[in-house]
Symmetry: C2
Subunit: 143 residues, 2 copies
């Protein structure tokens, strides 16, 4: 199943737990996470969606994502060979309609300054995308 569909199911599931979510979030130069979730207490969760073995093995930079979240998860469909995934990471089984958390990612709390900066970036990103959808006449600066 394509990663974007998995991401949709993941986003629905996280939303049902009170998280706000955005897709394809860039926490830092050169990094793009599939799903970033912001929880009611300011928790930041990253979910990487992997559609296939090849999709997983070609991603060399996933451990860089760990520095930008309190918990990290892989999301895959039920046919994915989960033994490939690093032991101990969070695991979500998803389809295009919903998802289920099978294993929580271990918690490694962000430093307060990074959390603050990342939540502000999340806010900016979400608002700019929303404005671009609502008002096609706007010129949004993505800097």
């Amino acid at each position: 199943m394509p990663g974007q569909l998995l991401a949709r199911g993941v986003c629905r599931h996280l939303a049902s737990h009170g998280f706000a979510v955005i897709e394809e979030f860039v926490p830092d130069r050169g990094l793009r996470v599939d799903v970033m979730g912001l929880g009611p207490k300011g928790e930041l969760w990253v979910v990487e969606c992997k559609s296939s073995r090849a999709d997983f093995t070609s991603d060399a930079k996933w451990d860089g994502y760990l520095d930008w979240c309190d918990r990290f998860f892989w999301a895959v469909d039920e046919g994915f060979p989960t033994e490939l995934l690093p032991q101990g990471s969070g695991l979500i089984i998803a389809d295009g309609y919903d998802a289920e958390i099978l294993r929580m990612g271990p918690e490694t709390k962000l430093a307060p300054a990074r959390r603050k900066k990342t939540i502000q970036k999340f806010a900016t990103h979400a608002a700019r995308r929303l404005q671009a959808l609502r008002d096609p006449g706007v010129r949004v600066s993505w800097a």
Copy 2:
């Protein structure tokens, strides 16, 4: 000119200055601001859009908005009798396509805890609206 059109022009203008913006933001129970802008340094600006004298005089709670922003502005169209507006507030002249800041609102900095809470609420609000637009199948909790 209807307030929603003024808000669109205001949002375009603020976006051109690097602000992220959302409309009809609820910073606290019972309060709804027309435009909330989040600046590159975490500044929070509130803009109230007034379409007419009646629209202005019927708004009894605008001074409550001052507690939720670093700067406050009125936005009106060029035909509005600006002498009605409180002296010293920020003033923006807008139409549906753009806007111009005629007078900056005085700065009264938010306390750090309130800024943090408000930016998180801004992030959540923007992401939920974006998700609702992108995925009509989602059940978003607005709690």
